[in-house]
C-alpha cells in the first residue's frame, strides 16, 4: 500500500527537517479521500458550523475540480499537535513532497510571532474548538430551529472579517462609567469650601457619569454586537463569539499567506534535495510536482493577472537565504507578516527578475500595463490584504433608542461601499440587533450617504 510507503518516509523527513533547524510541534498525518479534502478547503476547518454559504462555495469548488483546475495535495492545521490531511490520491512522490511542505508550515506556525500571538488567544486546539462550535450550533438548531440559527449565522458570518486581533480574544466590556476628572481636581475654591464645612464638601461630588457606548469607534464588530446588542439571547451571543474565535484563527493564515506558503515551498524543495534516502524516480516526480506548484502562470498562459503566492514567496525566500543566510531568513520569518515581508524584501531586482508588473483594469475590460514603480507594486500586491480584506467599518455609537450607528471610513479605503451588498448586510445585522441599524458611507460622487435597516 502506498500509505505505508510514504509513512515510512515521514519519520526520516522529520529527522532531516529537525537537523536542518526547523522547530515544529509534532504533526499528525492522515490520508483522507479527495471529497473530504475538498470540504476542508471549503470550510477552512475539518469540522465547522453548517451554513448555506459553504454550500455555495462547495458548488464552486466542485465545478473547479470538474474543470481540473484545482487539485489539493494537503491541508495543514497548526496546533500542538498539528493536523495534516493528505489527499489519499497522492502518489508516493507527492506525499514525500507534501510531508516536507507540511513541516515547513509547522515550523512557520510555531515560530512566527503573529501566529504565536493568535494561537495564544485561540489555544493550540482550534480544530477541536471548531468541532465544538459546530456541535454547539447543531444543538442550537435543534432547540431554536434552523430559521433562527441561520439568521444569526447570516449576520455573524457576514461580519467574519470584522475583528480586531490587537485586542484579546476574551476582552472584557468597556468600563461602565467615565472617571469624572473634575471631581478629583482640587481647586482653590473647593479647598477653602472643605475647610468651612468638611461634611458638606465630601457628599456633593460623588456623582459618576455613564460612559458612552462605545467609548471610541469599535472595529471588532463581532465582539461589539455580541456584547452590546440590546436584545440578543445568550445562545445567539455564543454563536457570534464562536465565529469570532474562528476568525482569530484565520487571521494569521490570511495575513502571512505569501510568507507561509513560500516558506513551506522553500523547505520542501530544500529537504527534498537533501534527502538522499528518497529513490531517484520519486525525487524526479516530486521535483516536477514542486515546479507545478510554484509555477508563476498557468500552463496555457503567457501572462497572469494575479501573482501565485507560492511562487512569489518561494522566490523571495530563496533570494533572502542566498543573500543574507539562513539565520537572517529565520529571523524575518519569525518577525514579519506579509506587509513587512513584501515591503522590505520584494526588491526592484527581484521584481524585474520575476517579471512582476502592475496593471490597471478599467470597467470596460481594458487592461493596461503600467510603468514600473516598486512602492506601487508592493501596494498592488498587498492591497487586497488590508484589514483582513474587508472595508474598514466600525461601530460608532448606540443611540438611546438602541439604534446602532456604523461608520465606514471611506477616506481610508478611498472609495465608498457597494450599496446593494451593504444594505443586505444591514438587513442581516438588524435581525440580531433587533433595533434599527444605520451605516454611513459615501456614494459615487463622494458625498456622505446613510443606509438604514429596516
Amino acid at each position: 500500500m502506498t500509505d505505508n510507503t510514504w509513512q515510512s518516509y515521514t519519520r526520516r523527513i522529520e529527522e532531516l527537517a529537525a537537523r536542518s533547524g526547523l522547530k515544529f510541534h509534532p504533526v499528525d498525518f492522515e490520508a483522507v479521500p479527495d471529497t473530504f479534502m475538498m470540504e476542508i478547503a471549503v470550510y477552512g476547518l475539518p469540522v465547522r458550523m453548517p451554513h448555506w454559504s459553504f454550500g455555495v462555495r462547495y458548488i464552486y469548488q466542485l465545478i473547479q475540480r470538474h474543470m481540473g483546475h484545482s487539485r489539493l495535495f494537503e491541508v495543514v492545521f497548526p496546533g500542538n499537535p498539528g493536523h495534516a490531511y493528505l489527499a489519499s490520491s497522492n502518489g508516493l512522490a507527492e506525499n514525500i513532497l507534501v510531508t516536507a511542505h507540511v513541516l515547513g508550515h509547522a515550523d512557520f506556525s510555531r515560530n512566527n510571532l503573529l501566529f504565536q500571538r493568535c494561537q495564544e488567544q485561540v489555544s493550540e486546539h482550534i480544530v477541536e474548538h471548531a468541532a465544538n462550535h459546530a456541535r454547539q450550533i447543531q444543538q442550537a438548531i435543534e432547540t431554536h430551529g434552523l430559521q433562527r440559527v441561520e439568521a444569526v449565522l447570516d449576520a455573524a458570518l457576514a461580519l467574519e472579517q470584522h475583528i480586531d486581533v490587537d485586542q484579546s480574544l476574551r476582552r472584557t466590556r468597556y468600563p461602565e462609567y467615565v472617571e469624572d476628572k473634575k471631581s478629583l481636581e482640587e481647586d482653590g475654591f473647593r479647598k477653602r469650601f472643605a475647610q468651612l464645612d468638611p461634611a458638606a464638601a465630601s457628599t456633593g461630588v460623588e456623582h459618576k457619569k455613564r460612559a458612552p457606548i462605545p467609548p471610541h469607534s469599535e472595529r471588532d464588530l463581532l465582539w461589539f454586537v455580541a456584547q452590546y446588542a440590546p436584545e440578543m439571547e445568550s445562545w445567539e451571543r455564543d454563536i457570534f463569539l464562536a465565529v469570532r474565535e474562528e476568525s482569530f484563527y484565520f487571521y494569521p493564515v490570511f495575513a502571512t499567506q505569501i510568507m507561509n506558503e513560500g516558506w513551506a515551498s522553500y523547505w520542501h524543495a530544500r529537504l527534498l534535495r537533501e534527502a538522499e534516502f528518497v529513490p531517484q524516480q520519486a525525487y524526479l516526480d516530486a521535483i516536477k510536482c514542486h515546479s507545478d506548484v510554484v509555477r508563476p502562470v498557468a500552463a496555457d498562459q503567457q501572462v497572469a493577472l494575479s501573482i501565485n503566492p507560492y511562487h512569489l514567496g518561494f522566490a523571495m525566500w530563496e533570494k533572502i537565504v542566498e543573500k543574507e543566510g539562513l539565520e537572517a531568513a529565520r529571523n524575518i520569518m519569525i518577525q514579519d507578516d506579509d506587509f513587512a515581508f513584501v515591503r522590505n524584501h520584494l526588491t526592484r531586482e527581484l521584481a524585474e527578475e520575476l517579471n512582476l508588473f502592475r496593471y490597471s483594469a478599467r470597467n470596460d475590460g481594458q487592461i493596461k500595463v503600467l510603468e514600473p514603480d516598486l512602492t506601487a507594486l508592493h501596494e498592488a500586491v498587498l492591497g487586497p490584504k488590508y484589514n483582513f480584506g474587508a472595508p474598514t467599518v466600525s461601530a460608532k455609537h448606540v443611540r438611546n433608542d438602541g439604534t446602532l450607528e456604523l461608520v465606514h471610513d471611506y477616506t481610508l479605503d478611498a472609495r465608498g461601499l457597494d450599496l446593494e451588498r451593504s444594505r443586505k448586510v444591514l438587513d442581516y445585522l438588524q435581525r440580531v440587533w433587533r433595533r434599527p441599524v444605520q451605516l454611513t458611507t459615501t456614494n459615487q460622487a463622494g458625498l456622505a450617504l446613510e443606509l438604514t435597516a429596516p
Partner: protein, 394 residues
C-alpha cells in the same frame, strides 16, 4: 495511521475515524442553499412564469434559471479603474486581454471578483407551485356545480389467486415464492399457490367537464404589457381550475369591434387596432357556448381582460350579452389591466361587472396594474368564487 488522528474528527461518540466517508457537510449545506433558492423563487413566481407558452403547453414543469445566492459581506464599490499585480513578460503600455472575458460573449462582468457566473436551472412542477400557492393564500377549492352524470372507469384494486393470465403480477408472485421457499437459492419453481393476479374494480366517477373562456380586449389601447399581464393572470386561473376539473377545456376569444376565436398560440400574439365593442366578444362567447357546450352538463367560466374602455353606444348591448352569459356560467370575472392609469374599475366595463355582482350573479372584478397584483387577482377571484359557491349551495 498516526495514533492521535481521530481527535480532529470531533464527532460525538467515539469512533470518528471514517465519519467523513459517510457524511458530506458540503452536500448538506448545498441542499440548504437550494432550499433557500426555492423559497425565494416561490416569492417571485408570477414574474418568472409570465413568459413562455405555458397555459396548454405539454410540459407540466417550469424551468427557472437562477443565479446562486450570495452571502453578502461589506465590499467596496467597484471602482472605474482598478490596479492589480500580475506576472509575465510584458512592457509598460501593453494592453492585455482579460482572460475572464474570453469565455463567451454572454458572460457578464469580469470573473475574478464575482466568482464567475454559475447558473442553476431549477425545475418546478407546476402542480407543486399551485399547491403551494393555494396553501399559502388559503384559497378555497372549487366545487363543481353540475351534478354527476356518471362515468365509470376500471381501477386496479388488490390481488387474487385466480385471474386472467394477462393480469399476472410477476413481482408479487415472485415475492410469494420467496416467502414460501425462504431463500432464493436454487432455480425457483412456481406453484399455483404463488401466483397473484391483479384485480380490477369498477369505480364510479362524476363526469366533470369545465370550459374556461378567456376573452381579451385587443383594441389599440391595450399595450403589450397589458396583454402579458392578462396572460399571466389567465395562466394562474387555468392552474386553479385544473385543480378541480380533470378535463378543462379552454377557449380563447379576442375582440376589438369584432370578435374572433383563436388558438392559444395565436391568442397572445393578436393585436388589433381601433375601438372597443365588448358586446361582440360576449356574443361570440355565447355563440360558442350554444354551439359546443351544454350549460347543464358543463361548468362554464368566463374571464374577461380589458382596459375598461368600451364604446358608449355599446353599453346596453354589452350589458345584455353579459347577463345572458352570467346566467349560464358558474362564474364571470373581469380584470382591468390598465398599467399606468390606476382607475380602479371606475370604467364603463368596470361598472358593468359591478352591477352584475350587485344583482346577485357570481361575478367579480379586479384591477391589475402590475405583475405583483396577479396574486391579488387570483386570490380575489378564487375567494369570490368560493363565496358565491357557498351562497349558492345551501
Amino acid at each position: 495511521m498516526a495514533p492521535n488522528s481521530e481527535s480532529g474528527g470531533g464527532q460525538p461518540g467515539g469512533d470518528a475515524a471514517k465519519w467523513y466517508e459517510l457524511f458530506s457537510r458540503g452536500a448538506r449545506d448545498w441542499l440548504r442553499h437550494d432550499e433557500k433558492v426555492r423559497e425565494s423563487v416561490r416569492q417571485h413566481l408570477p414574474q418568472i412564469v409570465a413568459g413562455g407558452e405555458l397555459i396548454n403547453g405539454g410540459s407540466r414543469t417550469v424551468r427557472v434559471p437562477i443565479r446562486m445566492l450570495e452571502h453578502y459581506h461589506f465590499r467596496l464599490r467597484r471602482p472605474e479603474e482598478q490596479q492589480g499585480a500580475g506576472q509575465g513578460k510584458v512592457k509598460p503600455g501593453d494592453v492585455l486581454a482579460d482572460p475572464s472575458r474570453q469565455r463567451g460573449p454572454g458572460e457578464k462582468g469580469p470573473g475574478g471578483q464575482d466568482e464567475g457566473e454559475v447558473q442553476l436551472l431549477l425545475e418546478f412542477k407546476i402542480d407543486d407551485i399551485v399547491d403551494w400557492l393555494w396553501e399559502e393564500m388559503q384559497l378555497p377549492n372549487l366545487k363543481a356545480r353540475v351534478g354527476p352524470s356518471e362515468d365509470s372507469e376500471w381501477v386496479r384494486e388488490g390481488w387474487d389467486r385466480r385471474g386472467a393470465r394477462s393480469r399476472l403480477d410477476r413481482r408479487r408472485s415472485f415475492k410469494e415464492l420467496v416467502k414460501r421457499r425462504g431463500a432464493p437459492g436454487a432455480t425457483p419453481t412456481f406453484t399455483d399457490e404463488d401466483l397473484r393476479f391483479r384485480q380490477l374494480a369498477r369505480r364510479r366517477q362524476p363526469a366533470i367537464h369545465a370550459v374556461a373562456f378567456f376573452l381579451l380586449d385587443v383594441s389599440g389601447s391595450m399595450s403589450d404589457r397589458d396583454r402579458k399581464l392578462a396572460k399571466t393572470f389567465f395562466f394562474w386561473v387555468v392552474q386553479g381550475l385544473r385543480r378541480e376539473y380533470r378535463s378543462l377545456e379552454t377557449v380563447f376569444v379576442a375582440h376589438t369591434t369584432e370578435a374572433w376565436e383563436f388558438t392559444e398560440a395565436e391568442f397572445f400574439q393578436v393585436s388589433g387596432t381601433g375601438g372597443t365593442v365588448a358586446s361582440t366578444g360576449f356574443a361570440k362567447v355565447q355563440e360558442i357556448i350554444d354551439e359546443r357546450y351544454n350549460p347543464n352538463r358543463c361548468n362554464i367560466y368566463l374571464f374577461y381582460a380589458s382596459d375598461g374602455d368600451n364604446s358608449v353606444s355599446d353599453a346596453a348591448d354589452a350589458r345584455e350579452g353579459l347577463s345572458a352569459i352570467a346566467e349560464d356560467a358558474c362564474f364571470t370575472g373581469y380584470v382591468e389591466v390598465s398599467s399606468g392609469l390606476s382607475r380602479q374599475l371606475a370604467t364603463e366595463t368596470g361598472r358593468l361587472f359591478a352591477d352584475l355582482s350587485a344583482a346577485g350573479c357570481a361575478a367579480g372584478s379586479y384591477a391589475l396594474n402590475d405583475f405583483d397584483d396577479v396574486w391579488g387577482a387570483v386570490r380575489h377571484f378564487f375567494s369570490a368564487e368560493g363565496r358565491a359557491e357557498e351562497a349558492a349551495s345551501p
